[in-house]
Structure formats: C-alpha cells, structure tokens
Symmetry: C2
Subunit: 203 residues, 2 copies
C-alpha cells in the first residue's frame, strides 16, 4: 500500500470511528506531495471545485503549431508534424463567484530560491493586462523538495520580476516568497485549496 493510499485509509477509518487523526511529532505536512506533480495536484483541485460547483477553472491545452496532418478521415486525423509553441498566456484561467481568475503554476527542486526563468516575459505581460482589467492574477510556486506550495498575488510578485529586469538576482529566495505569499497547505480533498486564499484576498 502506498503512503497515499495509507493516508486515505486512515482518514476513512477515523471518519468511521469518529476518532480524531493522531498528531504526528514530525513537522512534515500530513498529506504531502507524495509523487504527484504540482500540475496533477492543481488539476485534481480544479476537478474538485468543478464537481462541487465552487469554481470553473481549466488548464489551457499546450499550444502547438501543427504543420502536417494525415486525413484518412477527419474523425481520425493524425498529426504527423507539429512543434511546441511558447505560451502567450498563463496555463490556468476561469471564473469564481463572478471573478476572473488567471494564474501560472510552477515547481522547482531548488531548496533556497525560485528561479524566475520558469516564467516567460509574455506571461508576465499577460498577467499585467489581466490585473488592469480587474481580473485576479496570481502565481502558485511549489518547492517540491521542501513540500511547500505558495500563492503569490501578481502585485506582490511583480517587484521581484522587475528587480531581475534591472539587473538584480534571477530568482526569489524562499524567505522572500514566504514573506510575500500565503502558503497553500496540502490537504486530502481538495489537495491544494488555493481558493481559500483568494477568498481572504479578494472577498
């Protein structure tokens, strides 16, 4: 049984018996990122929100430049040559209680800083445009080795991007992220309840 399945079993059992989960001496989160990618966690969270009619948020398809397609029939057309395109927007957007949400989610194995090379200049420009239209723009960063995930509102993130553009460091330190962001705790369902933070920030 995997650790993940084990955690689910424990929760189910405690639920049935009415027991509170035992507190662990460890500082580690109870439901950590056990082999799931940040993208998986966010997609699962969005599926949870959608199923409960809490929000409608989707990941955009990967942008692809299609060059050659074989059409034996339209229904089973096969793309034979295509290339990845640089994204001109963020990966995720949607609607929550009437508000437009727009965000990019990235993870790093770095333990001390988040490299800004994870973001494209186009994406930053896009988030500026979104903010200027009164949309809610933010960034989710995961330090996968530390097991910590943060939500940084775009306005808090932008000064670090601009510091890099003016010749400063090309990353945001963990301490800076901690100071200017809210941590999204790992949960069982949803796994990363980022809307709880949006609730505090925007409603």
């Amino acid at each position: 049984m995997s650790l993940w399945q084990s955690a689910i079993q424990t929760v189910k059992k405690n639920h049935l018996t009415g027991q509170k989960p035992q507190k662990k001496a460890s500082q580690k989160p109870e439901f950590g990122n056990r082999g799931m990618s940040l993208e998986d966690d966010i997609n699962d969270t969005n599926a949870y929100y959608l199923a409960r009619e809490l929000a409608v948020i989707h990941k955009k398809p990967t942008p692809v430049q299609i060059v050659r397609v074989d059409y034996p029939k339209r229904s089973n057309a096969t793309i034979k040559e295509a290339y990845f395109k640089k994204p001109s927007t963020t990966d995720y957007n949607g609607v929550y209680k009437g508000k437009y949400l727009d965000f990019e989610a990235k993870e790093t194995k770095n333990k001390t800083a988040f490299p800004l090379s994870n973001f494209h200049p186009h994406q930053i420009e896009h988030m500026k445009q979104v903010r200027n239209q009164d949309g809610v723009a933010f960034i989710i960063t995961s330090f996968s080795v530390l097991g910590e995930v943060y939500l940084t509102m775009f306005d808090a993130f932008l000064p670090f991007w601009e510091r890099m553009l003016s010749g400063g460091r090309k990353s945001i330190t963990v301490d800076e992220i901690r100071q200017y962001s809210d941590q999204i705790p790992y949960g069982l369902n949803p796994r990363l309840d980022f809307l709880a933070i949006i609730d505090q920030k925007c409603f």
Copy 2:
C-alpha cells in the same frame, strides 16, 4: 486590388478629405466578411481590444493528445504523432472590466438555419457552469453566405439546445436567431465589436 484593400483605401481617402463615405444603394454591409473566416475576424477584434487595453480575450489552443515526440534537443522537439481531442470547454475566454467572458464562435454556409451539431454537449455543459459562477457566457454565430453575425446570450440559446434534446429540430432558424440575438455589424476596426453588445447586456 482586392475589395477589402479597396474599402480601406476609400476610408483612408475620405478621412483625409473629410468626405463622408457615399451611401450605397445595395443592402450589403459596407465592410462584409470578404474572405475572412469568423475566427480571423474574432482574433483580429481581440487583438484590437488587447492593444487598446479594453479587454483581455484569447482563443484557447486546439486541444491535442500528444503521443510521440522526437527530442533531439528540448528546444526543437518535434511532435511526430498526435491526435485532435474533443474540446471540453469553449474556444474563447477572458476578462472585460472585471467580468469573466466565455464564448464559442461558429459559422455556417446554411442560409436558413444554424445547425446545432456545430456545438459539443461538453461546451454547453461548460457554459452552464460558467453562468452558474456569474460568468458571462454567449455564442457568436456567423451566416457567412448572408454576411450576418449574431451574438446570442447563453440563456437565450439554451432553450433551442433543450428543444433538440427533447426531440425537436436540430437547428435554430435564422428568424429565431434574429429574434433572440443581437446582430454584430461588420466594421473596419474592430471588425466585430461584440463588446458593444456585452456593454448593453451586462453593464
């Protein structure tokens, strides 16, 4: 010189000389859809909105299931086998004055009715979810032979979809579309100013 270039020349000349454009005896729109697809017209309109900071609306990339990729280097990876996936959402979404907009745009050569087979059930379900989150969902339909483009709010469109589901006709007649929609007139720039209609409906 194409008709389109000719129209631009005429407008430029009239602008320079201060002359009003001559009215034509013809009932045809002055700036018709002369060989441009609806998608081109909407993409151009969205680019116009974006450049003037009026709205941030993008077409989503075509969803593709990537099966095989050659990686000589990551930077020039070539997709060698991929398939088109059915879209689970609409093609366009974005933010306008803080509101979340979401729409699907389709055209037909049919002169008397708009076939509902142009829409996937998933897309209708998605627009329901958007509306339930207080997003603004609508449909843009183009009768390319008639040169007429309409914006139908999702709540006005849904009864026709449900009529089909209960065994009724599989299309919306032109007269029905005219009755329950607003026509988007062709313009020079932007080509299809659909936000003018959203302004009336939602602000």
